[in-house]
C-alpha cells in the first residue's frame, strides 16, 4: 500500500480504504499478525489468541456447547423466516402453518429445520450439562458458569415448551393443557403460574398470544444475553481442557 498507488488509481484506493477499515490487519501470515487479528476481530475474539493442542481435542467437550449454540443460531434464522407467514391467532395459526408447509417456497424446509433443530438443541444442551458434570467442570472457579448454564437449560426447555403450542393442533393444545396443569401442582405459586401463563383458565387465544411473545422475543433475548455471559466466562475462567 504505497502512497503512490493512491494517486494512481482512486477506485483502488477507495476500495483498499474500505477494506482496511473493516480488516485492520492483513492475512495472518506470521504468529504475531495472527494474534493481533484474533484480538481485534469481534468474531474471532471468542477464541483465545493461543490455544493448547490438548484443549481442542474434540473428544474433550464433544463440541456439545458449541453445537447447542450452532443450533440456537439455526433456530433463530429459521424462526425468523417462519415469522413472515405464521399468524398467532387461534383461527388462523394452524392454517398458516399449513401455508408455510405447502405454499411458501422452501417453507417445508424452514419448518423442518426449526422443528428438528429444536429437538436437537434440547438433547445437546442436556448432554452438554452432563459432560460438564461428569468432568467436574462445574468446580471453582467455574461455579458461576454452572449457574448461568442451568438458567440456559431452563430457557431452552421453556423455548421448546412455548414453541410447541404455536401450531395449534390437537397435540399442541393438549400438551399445553397437560403441561400447565402440571405447573399447577407446584408449591405456592403453582395455581397462579398457570393463570399467568395462560392469561386465563383455558388454553385459548390469550395463551397463544403469550406463548408467541415469549417464544419469539422474550426467551430468545434472555437466552442470548445469558449465552454471551456464558461464553465470556468460559474465556475468563479458563477451560478445564486447558484452554
Amino acid at each position: 500500500m504505497s502512497s503512490g498507488s493512491y494517486e494512481q488509481n482512486p477506485i483502488k484506493a477507495f476500495a483498499s480504504e474500505v477494506w482496511g477499515s473493516v480488516f485492520r490487519h492483513g492475512l495472518p501470515t506470521t504468529d504475531k499478525v495472527a494474534a493481533r487479528t484474533a484480538l481485534t476481530n469481534f468474531f474471532l475474539h471468542i477464541h483465545p489468541v493461543r490455544v493448547k493442542k490438548s484443549a481442542i481435542r474434540v473428544s474433550y467437550t464433544l463440541c456439545l456447547g458449541g453445537l447447542s449454540f450452532f443450533l440456537f443460531i439455526a433456530l433463530t434464522i429459521s424462526g425468523l423466516f417462519l415469522m413472515f407467514y405464521y399468524i398467532p391467532s387461534v383461527g388462523q395459526a394452524y392454517q398458516s402453518i399449513k401455508d408455510i408447509q405447502y405454499v411458501a417456497t422452501f417453507g417445508l424446509v424452514m419448518r423442518n429445520i426449526h422443528r428438528w433443530a429444536a429437538h436437537a438443541m434440547v438433547i445437546t444442551v442436556w448432554l452438554h450439562m452432563a459432560r460438564v458434570f461428569y468432568q467436574g467442570a462445574y468446580k471453582p472457579p467455574r461455579q458461576f458458569n454452572w449457574v448461568i448454564g442451568t438458567a440456559l437449560l431452563l430457557i431452552t426447555l421453556l423455548l421448546s415448551f412455548t414453541g410447541y403450542l404455536l401450531p395449534w393442533d390437537q397435540l399442541a393444545v393438549w400438551a399445553i393443557t397437560v403441561g400447565t396443569n402440571l405447573g399447577k401442582y407446584g408449591p405456592i405459586v403453582g395455581p397462579v403460574s398457570r393463570y399467568i401463563m395462560l392469561g386465563g383458565r383455558n388454553v385459548g387465544q390469550s395463551a397463544l398470544t403469550r406463548f408467541y411473545v415469549l417464544h419469539v422475543i422474550a426467551l430468545p433475548l434472555i437466552g442470548f444475553v445469558l449465552m454471551v455471559i456464558h461464553f465470556w466466562r468460559v474465556r475468563k475462567d479458563g477451560f478445564t481442557g486447558g484452554l
Binding site: Q170, W174, T177, V178, N181, L182, Y195, I196, G199, G200, R201, N202, G204, Q205, S206
Partner: protein, 211 residues
C-alpha cells in the same frame, strides 16, 4: 476525625458513627434504588394478570331436545366439555375434564375391552366381568385414563372420578342449561360408588340426593 458520638467500642452502633458522608449517601441511595426496583417490579408484575379473560362462560345452554337423550344415546358436547347422560334415574351431567391433567376424554360405546379394572372400582361395580360390565364410558386421549359412564375412573393415571355439574331444563323444557361453575358431585380418590344425583327426566326437578 470528627467527634464520635458512640464512644465505646462495644456499642453496637459504633460502625454507624464511622460511616462517612459519602458512604452514608451511597448506602441510602442503594437501599432506596433497590426498594424502588423491588416495588416497581412487583407492581409491574400485575400487568401480567389479566383483569378479564376471554374464557368461554361456564353457564350455557346445550341446545338439544331432552327427549333425544336416551339411555343408549348420551349427548357429548365436546366444545363445552360436558356429557349429558340419561339412565333409569334421570339425567346427570359429567364435566369432561380428565382428573389426571385436564384433557377432554372421548366417549366410547365400549371402553372396557381388554382393560383391567382397579380392584376397588370393580368391587363397587359389583365385581362384574368385563363382558357383563356396562361397557360405555370415556377414554382420555392424553394418557389413556378410562372412566365408566358414571364417571368413575377404573384405569390409567386419573386419580379420581370426573366431576358432575349442575344441569336443568330451560323454562320451556326444550333445552338444557348446564352450569360448570356449580359442581354437584365431587368425588375423592377411591370414592367409587356410583352417585345418585339426578334430575327428573320429565320435570327436570332435582331428586334431592347429593351423591
Amino acid at each position: 476525625m470528627s467527634v464520635n458520638p458512640y464512644e465505646t467500642k462495644e456499642n453496637k452502633l459504633h460502625w454507624l458513627a464511622e460511616v462517612t458522608r459519602r458512604q452514608f449517601i451511597a448506602i441510602i441511595g442503594t437501599l432506596v434504588s433497590l426498594g424502588a426496583l423491588l416495588f416497581g417490579g412487583f407492581e409491574s408484575l400485575k400487568f401480567l394478570f389479566p383483569n378479564s379473560t376471554s374464557d368461554p362462560p361456564l353457564r350455557f345452554i346445550v341446545p338439544i331436545d331432552p327427549t333425544s337423550v336416551t339411555v343408549d344415546n348420551p349427548y357429548m358436547d365436546y366444545q363445552h366439555r360436558v356429557g349429558i347422560i340419561r339412565d333409569d334415574g334421570g339425567f346427570y351431567c359429567v364435566q369432561l375434564v380428565c382428573t389426571h391433567l385436564g384433557c377432554t376424554p372421548n366417549y366410547y360405546s365400549n371402553c372396557v375391552t381388554n382393560t383391567p379394572v382397579l380392584p376397588a372400582t370393580a368391587e363397587s361395580h359389583g365385581e362384574r366381568t368385563p363382558a357383563e360390565r356396562i361397557p360405555n364410558g370415556w377414554i382420555c386421549p392424553c394418557h389413556g385414563s378410562r372412566y365408566f359412564i358414571d364417571s368413575t375412573n377404573f384405569y390409567g393415571p386419573a386419580p379420581r372420578p370426573m366431576d358432575w355439574v349442575n344441569i336443568e331444563f330451560t323454562p320451556d323444557k326444550k333445552q338444557f342449561i348446564v352450569d360448570r361453575s356449580n359442581i354437584v358431585v365431587y368425588r375423592n380418590p377411591g370414592q367409587v360408588t356410583p352417585p345418585l344425583w339426578r334430575i327428573d327426566p320429565t320435570t327436570g326437578v332435582w331428586n334431592g340426593k347429593v351423591l
